[in-house]
């Protein structure tokens, strides 16, 4: 007789076409399992998320989380180097992986009846990787070329890296995910092996399976392949150095002759979505929309691109998806003949005017409608839904938090937005960055 050893926590979202259908379980070894049903196409997305990212790396080993992600495609005790992806491909699927500050995730998109094979291989590489010194040398060159491609060859990316490093005075979010080049060059087998041994364990992982699957079937397979892997008892608590009170604004000018168009960025520290406390983050979503969401209807767009020709591009952005303190950001690209200081003054005037005036009720309604509609459009992309759950669950949120988020967004009031704006838009907790091709342009 087969007995399910899992503790069952099933949450069925309302069976309407305006919410995803989600079932969750927790295996006895601590691994969380999320199943999202979408039976429109015979496809499954199998994602394994580890609750470890670049912000969890040891000091001096920046880039090791991402480097290890690359190495997971090398040999294990039963798979040859490259065999994982080759097996996915010969079964008509695609696979890849990604690393962020808070998580490292591996995924395959494949015919639904190949799910078991994916679990078999993915569970195998959780504990049985056989990294070699040759892998380290070759793949380290690959990640260095990746850094070349994404960052060293891109002046705007280099500038962003400087600005984020200045925004965080103590938290590891100030270190780039891909790593500082001088530390990446020194990463060795000991670094990757230690990181792998400690963090790649079922009690530090979330399995997300989305597509044409039945939750019970997924659970049975998860038990068979992941349920037998012992929990890691040395897994440390996830405590990271937090930001001290920030007392002075920082200003940076990044000069690079490869820049063609001067622009400015302002990043403020901002609260993230927290379990059971997502209200401030929800209000910040509205604040970003109101100040700089659409260049046609936002305050910055209207003032700098329509009422005056101060800028050719303006933006305000915020994402609450983060384990620790995140950022609220502005960007302004001045029009020809407008200095960065004039553009920045105009931007600050818009922010000051916003604080002084009432929020237009029609704009509030429009943003509410768009947020509600975005939930409907999101249902068309089951991989996107899977990513949303995976990210949230590795950033300390619960399934309940994810499902409460749309309603919390709908409940935001103008007073909430004003209160969070007053708190967040504090220059002492900000970095203003100018990006210019030459010193002469920095005025």
């Amino acid at each position: 007789m087969k007995r399910l050893l899992a503790s069952l926590a099933m949450i069925f979202a309302a069976h309407t076409a305006t919410a995803e259908e989600v079932t969750t379980y927790t295996l006895d070894n601590g691994m969380e399992v999320v199943v999202i049903e979408d039976h429109r196409a015979p496809v499954v997305v199998h994602m394994l998320w580890y609750k470890v990212g670049s912000a969890d790396e040891p000091v001096g080993a920046s880039g090791v989380a991402h480097f290890l992600e690359h190495l997971l495609f090398k040999a294990t005790d039963v798979l040859e180097s490259g065999e994982f992806s080759a097996t996915v491909a010969i079964n008509g699927g695609n696979d890849n992986a990604f690393t962020s500050y808070d998580y490292t995730a591996y995924f395959q998109r494949i015919a639904a009846d190949r799910l078991e094979l994916m679990m078999q291989m993915e569970s195998n590489r959780m504990n049985n990787l056989r990294m070699t010194p040759e892998d380290i040398v070759t793949e380290r060159n690959v990640v260095l070329e990746e850094r070349n491609q994404r960052t060293e060859n891109n002046p705007n990316a280099l500038a962003r890296e400087q600005f984020i490093a200045a925004l965080y005075q103590n938290h590891r979010y100030g270190v780039p995910i891909i790593g500082w080049k001088h530390e990446m060059e020194q990463l060795d087998l000991d670094d990757t092996q230690a990181f792998y041994d400690l963090y790649y364990a079922p009690n530090n992982a979330v399995l997300v399976v989305a597509g044409d699957v039945e939750p019970d079937d997924v659970l049975a397979l998860a038990e068979k392949y992941y349920g037998v892997i012992p929990a890691e008892d040395q897994l440390p608590e996830r405590i990271r150095p937090q930001e001290p009170p920030q007392r002075a604004e920082r200003r940076i000018t990044y000069v690079d002759p490869r820049v063609s168009q001067p622009f400015l960025i302002r990043n403020y520290l901002a609260p993230e979505r927290d379990p059971g406390a997502q209200e401030e983050a929800a209000a910040l979503v509205y604040l970003a929309e109101l100040l700089g969401g659409s260049s046609f209807t936002s305050d910055l767009g209207q003032a700098l691109q329509f009422d005056t020709q101060t800028a050719i591009y303006t933006n305000a952005s915020y994402s609450g998806s983060s384990l620790d303190t995140t950022a609220f950001s502005f960007a302004v690209v001045p029009a020809e003949g407008v200095t960065l200081s004039a553009a920045e003054a105009a931007m600050d005037q818009v922010i000051a005017d916003f604080m002084e005036s009432e929020i237009d009720a029609t704009r509030m309604d429009s943003i509410r409608t768009q947020l509600r509609a975005s939930q409907v459009y999101a249902l068309d992309d089951v991989s996107g839904i899977a990513r949303r759950y995976g990210a949230a669950l590795t950033q300390s949120l619960t399934v309940e938090d994810v499902q409460a988020w749309p309603d919390i967004l709908q409940a935001v009031t103008p007073e909430d937005i004003k209160a969070v704006a007053a708190k967040v838009l504090n220059r002492d907790q900000s970095v203003t960055g100018w990006v210019v091709p030459s010193e002469e342009e920095a005025m």
């Binding site: 008509g92 009846d113 060293e152 020709q309």
Partner: protein, 436 residues
């Protein structure tokens, strides 16, 4: 009279997946065709519209006009200014995107079931009655000029511009659809109306709709949406031969990683050997980590983060094309290995195992593409543009399966010409110089 000429429920079955798709073809009373898939499970509709011609229709001296015009379609229509138009769109929570490419003007729209009539009426205004206000023109022109200036300092764009100019010369493919600083600066409102008149015409329109609607409803709305557009457009661009000979062009640019684009002449989409070439390219450089180029340049030697090859079969020209980036010190080796792999493939072809693996992947992956309303709508409109029938979705895997080892290896020796490969390299590559 509304005609639904064909309803085909097609089932794509492979060793690994089975996808069902019911494509209905509908013709409006005014004669506009559309392909429709009724998918009521989510309360929204995805609409894809394509016009053939696009930037290739730019008039002499007006390079960039179609691109700028397309950018202005969302900047005011009928009685509405740009801001009024966008306020109305946001209130409906509809999304419209308008983009110009070499031969295709693309419109993607998504809107909710609950206000689809209003969302279509608003889109109609943008398509048939755009205003091209002078202030909007000047604003978007400044954005385009900023983009042109940025491209001039981006190694990938520098390489792309040089490659296209050398390969296609005066043909529209030889220059950026954005235009030049000079051409864009002088474009006028009249030029926008001309570009609109030429690019959005009923004889070159293709439509697909997937979502919470019916073929009948689509047939009834098509004339409202597009019927007021001109019936015919000007002649399309001529075909052009790939005009670049084998060699290397180095463009000096101070950046740590050199970017290389490479290619030679290719083959047409309707060539009898297309599928053999398609499978061949899968083994050579299209297939993720498993391709020969990825294996040799990245996996074995660590010379790059990514290398790819592409079969580029456009309406008026064909090439086999590729891209790779590597540090200035190692780009010469990356190019040497690429050339060697090109030659090895031309000489020896693929193995039976490589062929089987590539075919299994390609046929298995195909049905997985049909996994969302927006995705299916894009696939269907793309098929229409290159003249494929709805049945193609069921026959396509048979075409792949029919490719034999003999076919692939004959095509490899005919198509791949290592001596003809031209590399355009931007950076400070060590040990690499331009050929004469």
């Amino acid at each position: 009279m509304l005609r639904i000429v064909l309803s085909l429920c097609m089932i794509i079955i492979t060793s690994s997946a089975r996808a069902e798709i019911d494509i209905k073809q509908v013709t409006s009373p005014g004669g506009i065709n559309a392909w429709v898939v009724e998918e009521p499970s989510i309360p929204f509709v995805a609409l894809e519209i394509r016009f053939r011609g696009s930037a290739s229709l730019d008039l002499p001296g007006k390079r960039g006009a179609t691109n700028l015009m397309t950018g202005l379609l969302e900047e005011g229509a009928g009685e509405m200014s740009a801001q009024e138009f966008q306020t109305a769109r946001e209130a409906l929570a509809a999304s419209y995107s308008f983009r110009a490419f070499d031969d295709t003007l693309s419109i993607s729209a998504q809107f909710l079931t609950e206000n689809k009539t209003e969302a279509l009426a608003l889109l109609r205004q943008a398509l048939v009655d755009p205003r091209f206000d002078q202030d909007a023109l000047d604003r978007v022109r400044a954005q385009v000029l900023s983009g042109i200036a940025s491209d001039a300092k981006n190694p990938n764009d520098i390489a792309g511009a040089a490659f296209d100019a050398a390969a296609f010369g005066d043909h529209p493919y030889g220059s950026s659809i954005d235009g030049t600083v000079e051409s864009v600066t002088t474009l006028t409102r009249d030029d926008m109306f001309d570009a609109h008149r030429n690019a959005l015409t009923r004889d070159r329109v293709f439509v697909s709709v997937v979502g919470d609607t019916t073929a009948e409803a689509v047939g009834e709305m098509l004339d409202d949406l597009l019927g007021a557009l001109p019936a015919e457009g000007p002649p399309l661009a001529e075909d052009v031969a790939f005009g670049l000979e084998g060699g290397i062009t180095v463009i000096d640019y101070d950046t740590p990683q050199a970017v290389a684009l490479f290619g030679h002449a290719g083959l047409k989409r309707d060539d009898p050997d297309f599928f053999a070439a398609f499978v061949l390219n899968q083994v050579l450089g299209a297939g993720g980590f498993e391709s020969r180029l990825m294996t040799e340049v990245r996996e074995k030697r660590g010379l790059t983060y990514g290398i790819r090859s592409y079969l580029v079969s456009k309406f008026h020209a064909e090439m086999v094309f590729g891209s790779v980036a590597s540090a200035n010190a190692t780009i010469a080796e990356a190019i040497e290995v690429t050339r060697a792999e090109w030659a090895r493939m031309a000489d020896e072809g693929v193995t039976q195992e490589e062929l089987t693996t590539a075919k299994t992947y390609l046929t298995g992956e195909y049905p997985l593409r049909f996994d969302g309303n927006a995705e299916i709508a894009k696939i269907m409109v793309g098929m229409q543009m290159i003249g494929l029938p709805p049945e193609y979705v069921v026959n396509r895997n048979d075409y792949i399966e029919a490719v034999t080892l003999e076919d692939v290896n004959r095509v490899a020796s005919e198509l791949l010409q290592p001596e003809d490969l031209h590399f355009v390299v931007v950076g400070k590559p060590e040990g690499l110089e331009s050929t004469q």
